[in-house]
Subunit: 450 residues, 2 copies
Amino acid sequence: MEFKISRDFIAQIEQLISENREKELQDLLHDLHYADIAEIMGDLDDSEAIYIFHILDSEKTAEILLELDEEVREKILRELSPKEIAEELDELSTDDAADIIAELPQERKEEVISELVDVEHAKDIVDLLRYDEDSAGGLMGKELVKVNENWNVLTCVKEMREQAANVQRVHSIYVVDDENRLKGRLSLKDLLTTSTKTPISEVYIPKVDFVKVDTPDVEVARIMQKYDLEAIPVVDELGRLVGRITIDDIVDVIKEEADKDYQLAAGISQDVEADDSIIELTRARLPWLVLALLGGFISVRLLNTFSGAMDNHKELFFFTPLIAAMAGNVGVQSSAIIVQGLANNTISGSLWRRLVKEILLSLLNGSLLALILIAGSHIVLGVSYELGLTVSVSLVSVIIIASLIGTFIPIFLNKVGIDPALATGPFITTSNDICGILIYFTIAKIILGF
Amino acid sequence: MEFKISRDFIAQIEQLISENREKELQDLLHDLHYADIAEIMGDLDDSEAIYIFHILDSEKTAEILLELDEEVREKILRELSPKEIAEELDELSTDDAADIIAELPQERKEEVISELVDVEHAKDIVDLLRYDEDSAGGLMGKELVKVNENWNVLTCVKEMREQAANVQRVHSIYVVDDENRLKGRLSLKDLLTTSTKTPISEVYIPKVDFVKVDTPDVEVARIMQKYDLEAIPVVDELGRLVGRITIDDIVDVIKEEADKDYQLAAGISQDVEADDSIIELTRARLPWLVLALLGGFISVRLLNTFSGAMDNHKELFFFTPLIAAMAGNVGVQSSAIIVQGLANNTISGSLWRRLVKEILLSLLNGSLLALILIAGSHIVLGVSYELGLTVSVSLVSVIIIASLIGTFIPIFLNKVGIDPALATGPFITTSNDICGILIYFTIAKIILGF
């Protein structure tokens, strides 16, 4: 069951801190999970969070450090000496320790590394720091259980007992040759159910999924999801086993990727949260608003060139927001479907077939909407038959063009290696606003002849 | 490494099917992962997919069935007799088998269940069918390894060898009392490193996270992510251990939830893919477009009531799409940040503080944008000073109101128990379009006095 952190609980903790009642605080926090303590620290002031951090057992603080929001962690790390940081890192697995070191300023990095006690652990961490954080190398940990293909089950079990002491969770037992090249795997089940004298070469499964150190993290996530893997070994250029990635790291990648696409679709250009500062939020939001404003300038210019229509057909201008909104909405729908399809690798068939399909789909949607529009504008709004026709024909045309733009811009970006999620949200609504208005007035000019 | 399915490969398979060269097809597919074969079958015609399914080994077909797109699976299941389906299900884990049975028509369900050979397996599957698919009970599987608190390590290992034979992946060993009530857990590491004579009661960890059968799936996902769990036990109302949920099922929940929010933000009201039929796509997209169209009617009416301004201030109308677009974009940004915050449980502080923050943020963003607008409209568009002022004041006001609407509608929906993601995308852009135009012309009327 989850522990619910109430405002009263936070208030109680703040009270105890202000009265410096260390013992009572320790008792209160003793049974809490480190994730809950990290969450509580995020709700406290900086000095209070640091106070809490200092009174906790060292075994808990390392895990808490890992769970904290990056900003809170940065503040706490600034309060600690390199030796104290190194002590925390000695408690963590290699990938988690490397992630925290990567966040430190350059000179502190080296000081902290030199203070690490366990030499093997330190070597592994330094090794991990080499890799790009968005690659398999940046995700992997060094903790794994591996056995030599030339051993038998008994030797394996003995060796594994030792190795397992350093590994938090045993996912799979990897089999390597004398050169440390990955040959296959043994399942835990095999270990539990095979006689101890059997040679490993007879029981191991030679087919094993793996990724290379430079495989991008989203690709690793896709492979692990597709093949339902809980852990995947990572090999270097020579096929040597250098680490493993577990599904919990992949959960974070999937979550981040989904959040990023969602934010791009909403016109937010970096990872922000509701509780971030106004400056950070502005930095994430303003660029897209400026883009929309510049698009707005273009639409003002466009309408200006059609201002001649105002004398005889002023109602035309009442419909511009409607046309622009429909163009924007249709474009966002189309681009979202394509961006998701590209991300999930579920798009098949040729571009021609997709073109035909989008046009048919838009014709169907557009015609139904045009019917509502004709009825509505005639009965409710009381506009002329001619204007109703103009707006309806425009609506269908605009919907077709908007859906084509929404579909093919992401496909094009993806082809040339740019994240297609960039072409969702404000980008699509703005370009479709402009196209929509242009199409609308061009058609109006043809039908009404101004 | 992942197997890449090329068009040539699909063409080769189609060729072999048309020439009925079964043996060569079997050889070609023999080394492929079932996820790859399922993907290939999705690219083939129905009859070709069914052909492939029939020539494969029965051990592979069960897993393939699971990986297939729902539509393809439905077609294949229709071709199979209840006995054949039961044979496939006997190969699957209880949760996967229950998911497939749940998709069958009612009378076939019973026929298939009556054909299941393994009685224990059948009982477990039937038990799982009782639970809501969006709850912990609907996610869990019955396969787990459990030991009695009164045993010693030796008895455990013996019992576990037997139990493990039915369990694909051993995540944790659960400890129960004589009444099957969950008492704690044993880690695999403990098993590998503890002497065989130790009584279980001495080594097990009494603190164990668990969920109840009726916990919603998104809540299970949140708990497992927060506490970094690879598996979580599920208990019934009396605390008895009834199943376990593994992280790979949670990955699907997270992915689905993120996809759903993304689609709602883009104005798509049910789970569709780019390759779905035109009818399905229309059903998902049209409702939001109708909503936007109705909103458009309101904006037409609004502009109509301000048509008196056209005689002296026709340029005002050129700026309506710009104002509407800015209102829409700001609203979507605000709502997206709040919806994500609500989903990730990272929103703290009172509503008042949030209100003040949103107003400050909008004032900052709005003022910067207004500066660009004044400069741009003066230099590039050459509008009058008065009009520039009108549009700028409106822009700042519209941005403030739009961000408040975008922030507080999702918060309100969440409070009353409606999915706040509904209030993103078209809903927010449409309501903000209308508010934006109303505010704009009201301010214009005050400043320009028409």
